[in-house]
């Protein structure tokens, strides 16, 4: 199956999380070489095949590319509930409850790491020091145009 992955063109932390998930999964995929494309018409991330198969949700894309549908469900639930909301509100208090993460690259570690990193770039230092993760971080940061935080006037 010929696959192509399209990046999230949003400007928020969710877009960084999504693009980081896709960048890591694209390098670790069991399916074969897959390109991450940032030049496309849609604003949302997706995976498409020429045969008509399509995924539009980043965690499902990660699981599919890594062929890993049974990794740590508790970690994924934490990401899909608490971290997902925190990325919208930029609330870092959730980071105090981050589950532990091994340095094994699987679907749950990729999903959990990407959102924790998007919220706070010092999250999971051992995981982000892994070679494939380092290069995926550089790629995700280069294709995601984050909005600068608005200055807060206090005077």
């Amino acid at each position: 199956m010929s696959l192509e992955i399209f990046t999230d063109k949003g400007k928020g932390l969710s877009a960084l999380s999504t693009n980081l998930k896709l960048a890591i999964a694209a390098t670790q995929t069991k399916i074969g070489k897959i390109n991450l494309t940032s030049e496309h018409d849609s604003k949302k991330a997706s995976l498409k095949s020429k045969e008509g198969f399509e995924l539009i949700e980043a965690n499902a894309i990660v699981k599919y590319l890594l062929n890993d549908f049974n990794s740590d469900k508790v970690a994924i639930a934490f990401e899909e509930n608490q971290l997902y909301t925190a990325l919208q509100t930029q609330d870092k208090s959730v980071l105090a409850n981050l589950p532990a993460l091994s340095t094994e690259i699987n679907a749950s570690s990729v999903i959990l790491f990407a959102s924790a990193f998007a919220l706070d770039r010092s999250s999971y230092p051992e995981f982000q020091a892994l070679e494939p993760i380092k290069s995926a971080i550089a790629q995700a940061l280069s294709i995601t145009s984050l909005e600068r935080p608005k200055p807060t006037y206090t005077g």
């Binding site: 995924l55 965690n59 894309i61 599919y64 997902y84």
Partner: protein, 129 residues
């Protein structure tokens, strides 16, 4: 498929979140990914309702031509929204309505007061593909 739905004993609406996946056909990797996608996205409805409608355009069920446990869970999360839709929503949600009606008539036992009633006399503009 017809064989499966005729043999399947309808599940009560309150039981669908814990539906036994082994009663359905084994999933391919593509179907497992779609299942994961819709379980995640349906937990955030009404976001992604438009995408659900688009996805059901070419499929009888969420994962293809056969029902799955994911259909049941997503059905239970979609039905409360659909009960608030009016005929003005029919055109943009036509594929979801077709799918909901199929499920409530074959796989899920919906209490009469929660059942979706679709007005089939409403004229919906032809879909632009």
């Amino acid at each position: 498929m017809a064989d499966l739905t005729t043999k399947f004993q309808k599940l009560a609406l309150s039981e669908v979140e814990s539906a036994d996946a082994s009663k359905f056909v084994e999933l391919t990797s593509e179907q497992k990914a779609l299942e994961s996608q819709w379980l995640t996205l349906s937990s955030r409805f009404p976001d992604s309702i438009e995408e659900l409608n688009e996805s059901l355009k070419n499929k009888t069920y969420l994962l293809g031509n056969a029902p799955s446990a994911a259909d049941l869970v997503v059905f239970s999360r979609t039905l409360p929204l659909a009960l608030k839709w009016t005929t003005a929503d029919y055109a943009s949600k036509r594929h979801i309505l077709r799918w909901l009606d199929l499920l409530q008539n074959t796989l899920v036992e919906v209490p009469q007061d929660s059942k979706l009633t679709i007005d089939f006399s409403v004229e919906v503009p032809r879909e632009i593909k």
